[in-house]
């Protein structure tokens, strides 16, 4: 497991009501890695937030942490 995936798992688990159902799949590309986040459907709002603010904050943090490993990370939230 990569550090970025672990980072996303920790953040998502802390935000939701059902941490056991948090799943992150890493799809590695050449320049960008897609992190697919799955949570229980009634937890979707918790990781997206009002006007998408929570999702945007997570993306901002992933981008900052990604600079350390010189990679771009894209967050996809899946139902």
């Amino acid at each position: 497991m990569s550090a970025m995936k672990d980072l996303l798992v920790e953040i998502a688990k802390a935000l939701v009501d059902h941490p056991d159902e948090v799943q992150v799949t890493e799809v590695e590309g050449e320049q960008t890695t897609v992190l697919e986040l799955r949570v229980r459907s009634d937890d979707l709002g918790k990781v997206i937030g009002r006007q998408g603010r929570t999702a945007r904050a997570i993306r901002t943090l992933l981008a900052a942490a990604g600079m350390k490993v010189h990679k771009r990370f894209v967050l996809e939230i899946l139902e």
Partner: protein, 199 residues
């Protein structure tokens, strides 16, 4: 602050286990004190989720998971829960005008909303970064006001966070040469400084 509730068990361990299950927390995340109960058999405690502990654990576990060299020290001061972050990777947070630091602070508050109920607002900083950022924003606001007063032309700021827009509004509130206004909606809102209309 979160309301404290009573939990009883045959032993302190059992009372703590009951409290953790009910409060959806780990032992390190609650604060408790023993309570004397008259007819009591076993141990009764009064316990509540401790926002400082929840936040400290969340941040340190997150930093460890992401292999980030960061540490946080938290303290409750006045009406806020303030956290000072340091470490070799702190510049990752203060880059891009401090957007990652703001994002982390936003997430920290949402985590406590979810885990601790009512809580003091979390304010995170890296070595006085926010103070320096506010000072340079104030200076930028003053320079912009001078330019607007001189030229009579309105100036639009680049997109900024609500907190940054508030700083500029406040910095120029007393300046009777100009007026400030936010235009647009949501996170695309932009601040405009224009010459004050004379009556």
């Amino acid at each position: 602050m979160t309301e404290r509730r009573h939990f009883t068990g045959g032993t302190l361990d059992e009372a703590l286990t009951a409290a953790c299950a009910e409060l959806r927390a780990r032992v390190g995340e609650i604060r408790y004190e023993p309570v004397d109960v008259d007819d009591g058999e076993g141990v009764t405690i009064r316990a509540a989720v401790d926002p400082v502990a929840v936040l400290g654990l969340f941040l340190s576990e997150m930093f460890a998971a992401g292999e980030l060299e960061l540490r946080v020290s938290l303290k409750e001061c006045g009406e806020a829960l303030s956290g000072e972050i340091e470490g070799a990777d702190a510049r990752l947070l203060t880059g891009s005008g401090g957007k990652p630091l703001d994002a982390l602070q936003y997430l920290a508050n949402r985590v406590l909303d979810n885990r601790a109920g009512e809580h003091p607002p979390v304010q995170l900083d890296v070595g006085g970064f926010k103070e320096r950022r506010a000072r340079s924003l104030h200076q930028q606001a003053r320079e912009t006001a001078n330019r607007v007063a001189r030229s009579g032309q309105a100036v639009m700021f680049p997109p900024m966070s609500p907190a940054a827009r508030r700083e500029v509004h406040m910095a120029l509130g007393e300046d009777d040469r100009v007026e400030t206004e936010s235009q647009g909606n949501g996170f695309l809102k932009r601040l405009v400084v224009r010459p004050r209309r004379r009556r």
